[in-house]
């Protein structure tokens, strides 16, 4: 098995790195370029950029931020938000992204996943799912957890895999920004259903949360924002903890 990936998540609004709670109430953190370099130097395994207002404007505006980052950051970068077509994805890939994440457009037109997979390969296509708990299981949302889709998260993840997605980015809106730990039942339900890697996002507040989501919920990767942006832990500290907890992580030379 590959090492568990430690991914720094950068939510972007306009020119700024921002952070919210439940994907809302956004607070400006700072210059995305400076944070991207910091996480690369700390040994992040990947960076994940999300344009938080892209769906509002109907397009992803991260091209400039990504192409600047691509000059100094030599680990994989996933970019999402407002990707509606093969052309949108191509633009981001040419700017320096390695993978694109789709959410809203895919819920409206699931064939988009297949079109992207056919053109760029499945490994390039991340299905981003914003999950909220409901009476039975979880429902997939779009637009930072504001818009219903009526889709069951676990079914949608499986459908996404069948359509050609190479990874699932699974964000718990309920836990996002709360630093209260991952929604383990959610991650486990999706990881058990699909064969593709699952990136757990939303809720990482302490190193012990990592152990739980990997060992109990079988996440293949974790995306972190709050703990990193607010300087609670560095990626190096999380990596050291993971190793002590018996989680296979990459040794950074």
């Amino acid at each position: 098995m590959p090492a568990i990936r430690l991914i720094a998540r950068l939510d972007i609004k306009g020119p700024n790195l921002i952070k919210g709670v439940h994907l809302e109430g956004l607070r400006v953190i700072g210059d995305p370029g400076a944070y991207a370099r910091r996480y690369y130097e700390q040994g992040a395994d990947e960076l994940l950029y999300m344009d938080t207002v892209a769906s509002l404007y109907g397009r992803n505006n991260l091209t400039d931020i990504v192409s600047l980052a691509a000059r100094d950051v030599f680990v994989p970068m996933t970019v999402g938000g407002g990707v509606r077509s093969v052309e949108d994805a191509d633009r981001l890939l040419r700017a320096g992204a390695d993978k694109v994440a789709v959410n809203t457009a895919a819920t409206q037109r699931p064939e988009l996943i297949s079109e992207l997979a056919r053109r760029f390969g499945s490994q390039c296509v991340v299905l981003s799912i914003e999950a909220k708990e409901r009476e039975q299981g979880w429902e997939a949302y779009t637009d930072n957890g504001r818009e219903h889709t009526g889709l069951d998260v676990v079914d949608w993840a499986q459908r996404g895999e069948e359509l050609g997605a190479g990874e699932i980015l699974l964000t718990s809106v309920d836990r996002e920004g709360t630093a209260t730990g991952f929604d383990l039942a959610l991650v486990r339900a999706v990881a058990d259903r699909v064969g593709i890697p699952v990136i757990a996002s939303g809720g990482m507040g302490a190193a012990k949360d990592l152990k739980a989501v990997v060992q109990e919920a079988r996440a293949d990767a974790v995306a972190m924002a709050h703990v990193l942006h607010y300087n609670k832990l560095s990626i190096g500290e999380i990596r050291d903890y993971a190793r002590q907890a018996g989680i296979a992580v990459r040794t950074v030379p």
């Binding site: 990936r5 030599f74 680990v75 890939l93 760029f120 490994q123 030379p253």
Partner: protein, 211 residues
């Protein structure tokens, strides 16, 4: 050194360009035959489907150019899909012919483990690479690495070299052995992405620039 990255319309050609820029050796991204013929080091990167990749190379009449470059003893480096296309055949979405610069084929990573349970495919993430038993990386592009250094992989298919002597590095994905790097003289291939593997990956590219 004059470096050219082959532009053949497939995804992810730019990262490797930026990596060379970062190392102070600006490379050109081009499908122009005159520029490619002048290059001392040719890099064939790319992600996407094997058949599409070969069709795009063919459409630009690049296949004889690559073969000529190699026959002149100049280094050709394939990365990811680029490495796979160095081989003779692939079974990705049907049977396809490759460049045939290395004997062997490209096959899917099995989606089932031996006990029938599911293996995570595509193979995505950082994996420690080592030389095959009794081989050393001295005088190869992997010389800057300590065995066991982790590199970034993302693929669903993998090369099966017919001649084990061409295998430069291996790793394992969930119990399945993966050919991570190959070399036959001036033909070099990396299944992982040196341009996405942090400082250790950049060290490999630097070694290619000053062999």
């Amino acid at each position: 050194m004059n470096v050219a990255v082959i532009d053949y319309g497939m995804g992810n050609l730019h990262s490797v360009l930026r990596a060379f820029e970062h190392l102070g050796v600006p490379a050109s991204l081009t499908d122009d035959h005159a520029l490619l013929l002048r290059a001392e080091l040719l890099v064939l990167p790319g992600v996407g489907a094997f058949g599409d990749g070969m069709a795009e190379l063919n459409r630009r009449r690049l296949i004889p150019l690559l073969q000529r470059h190699v026959s002149q003893g100049k280094p050709l480096v394939g990365i990811c899909l680029g490495m796979q296309m160095l081989f003779e055949t692939s079974e990705e979405f049907g049977e396809h012919k490759g460049l045939g610069l290395l004997p062997g084929g490209v096959t899917a990573i099995p989606e089932r483990r031996q006990d029938g349970s599911r293996r995570r495919v595509p193979h995505v993430g950082w994996e420690e690479i080592v030389p095959p038993t009794e081989k050393s990386w001295r005088h190869t592009p992997l010389a800057p690495l300590a065995p066991g250094t982790a590199m970034y992989f993302v693929h669903s298919f993998a090369a099966q070299p017919a001649d084990p002597a061409h295998i430069l590095a291996i790793c394992e994905h969930d119990g399945h052995p993966i050919c991570a790097a190959v070399q036959r003289d001036n033909v070099i291939g990396f299944q992982f992405h040196p341009e996405k593997s942090g400082p250790a990956g950049l060290a490999i590219l630097r070694a290619l620039l000053s062999p």
